[in-house]
């Protein structure tokens, strides 16, 4: 049965309008997502910079650690710095991984392990790199008798860069932020990684 021409044009117009609305909705959602991600990244950068400022202040209050033949000096400095930082972080919120920032990290890590062509290699690096399973808390020292799980370089490319004082580390399925010089756990995202 032939429909009138005006009716067919009307139907096409309706479909086109629905398509455009959906497209606009998609764009809008993507833009909102980008804005949310950008805000979380900016917030992360601010929090990291604040931590580094605190680290530098505490480090400057100690005798400078230079190249030394005396390994005791290294150990003493590491412990003293860790204590100073812990003390300075008591009271108030010194969280780095806020819920929004944690969500961003989880999203990026999940995306890398689910859809990146290098996911098998990244998983292999973790699996073969002597993974550790221990429950570490904020302000803990990283245990001296445990190895540091190797960070897959392709995963590192997906995470926001860090200043030289800090590194990301994988502990079990947690992602840990480690202060190298103080050997101190700065913050943790629990269960950030999939089962490897």
């Amino acid at each position: 049965m032939n429909r009138p021409r005006w009716l067919r044009l009307h139907q096409v117009g309706v479909l086109f309008t629905i398509f455009m609305i959906l497209l606009a909705e998609g764009w809008s959602q993507a833009a909102t997502e980008r804005e949310r991600e950008s805000a979380a990244l900016k917030d992360f950068s601010t929090r990291v910079n604040e931590y580094v400022k605190l680290h530098k202040q505490q480090d400057a209050s100690l005798p400078a650690l230079k190249q030394t033949n005396n390994s005791a000096e290294i150990q003493v400095h590491q412990r003293a710095l860790a204590e100073k930082i812990k003390e300075a972080r008591t009271g108030g919120s010194h969280e780095i991984f806020s819920p929004e920032i944690s969500a961003l990290f989880r999203h990026r890590i999940e995306r890398h392990f689910k859809s990146s062509p290098t996911a098998p290699q990244a998983k292999a690096t973790i699996r073969l790199g002597e993974p550790v399973k221990v429950h570490l808390k904020v302000n803990d020292s990283y245990p001296a008798d445990l190895p540091l799980t190797t960070m897959p370089p392709t995963l590192l490319q997906q995470l926001p860069p860090l200043p030289q004082q800090l590194e990301y580390r994988i502990v079990g399925r947690d992602l840990v932020l480690l202060d190298l010089k103080a050997n101190l756990i700065v913050d943790v995202i629990r269960q950030a990684l999939p089962e490897i």
């Binding site: 005396n70 390994s71 790199g129 540091l148 960070m151 897959p152 590194e167």
Partner: protein, 310 residues
Amino acid sequence: MASQLANMDLMRRTRYVSLLFSIVLLQPQAQELTLPLKNDSVRFAVIGDSGTGKTPQYELAAKMSELRQKFPFEFVLMLGDNMYGGESPRDFEKKFERPYKPLLDAGVKFYAALGNHDNPNQRFYKPFNMDGKQYYTYKKGPIRFFAMDSNYVDRAQLQWIEKELQNSDSVWKICYFHHPLYSSGARHGSDTDLRLLLEPLFIKYGVNVVLAGHEHFYERIKPQNGIYYFTSGAASKLRRGNIRKSILSAKGFDQDLSFMLMEVSGDQLHFQVISRDGRTIDGGTLERQTEADRAQKASHWKVVGFLGIR
């Protein structure tokens, strides 16, 4: 024309085969120095996974000191896991200062890379010559060494290695770090994630030799993409029988502890690998690669690499 092309192809193939076989294999034999000890050569030793502080480490260290009487190497490359377990002053003494005391007293310098068992603050320990850095570079005669931290290859380290390799006009470029890009080890195997990012840079900027530890045995890998790869991670710990049959491997030894001696002179790198009981387990001479060699080996690698990837 066709015959000329065929001849050229034959010449290239012959050259490639001759280059591969310029590695002269030695049969296991009693302690006998085969290195040429040429005038003005650069001589060094290589150890990996050394820091247990237990008797085997001391035994191998004693063998190193003994051989230095015949082959006076000036410095030692440490390929990571310099300190297992604790890192108290007592540990530094037990796991480094005492076993290598004769070498340290003789003025031998150690240049350490960090392993997964090492606290990054080892960079402040002067005898490791890291100058407070997790990754660093230095020059010895015609060789530029690049000590990397393979535990954490982030964008900053990638940018650093690219810049340093690009700026280096040294005749020889030797990179060393803890995790092997190629390995036949059953325990760890090749770190292919690391390889994805590092190998293109090594090829682009003409790295000649790559040394790694992590696997507790010795292995010489067949040249990959024109680069010579060695694993030497048995200076204290041994994973006996851990080398799997692999198309990658040119020579492997997992029956005892070992260390490497190397001598660079002109366009040749001579190496000898010594076990704890003083046997030579591998050795030979590597020719420095030319651009043409690299191009030829690159096409060969496509086959070997594809089959060898795990």
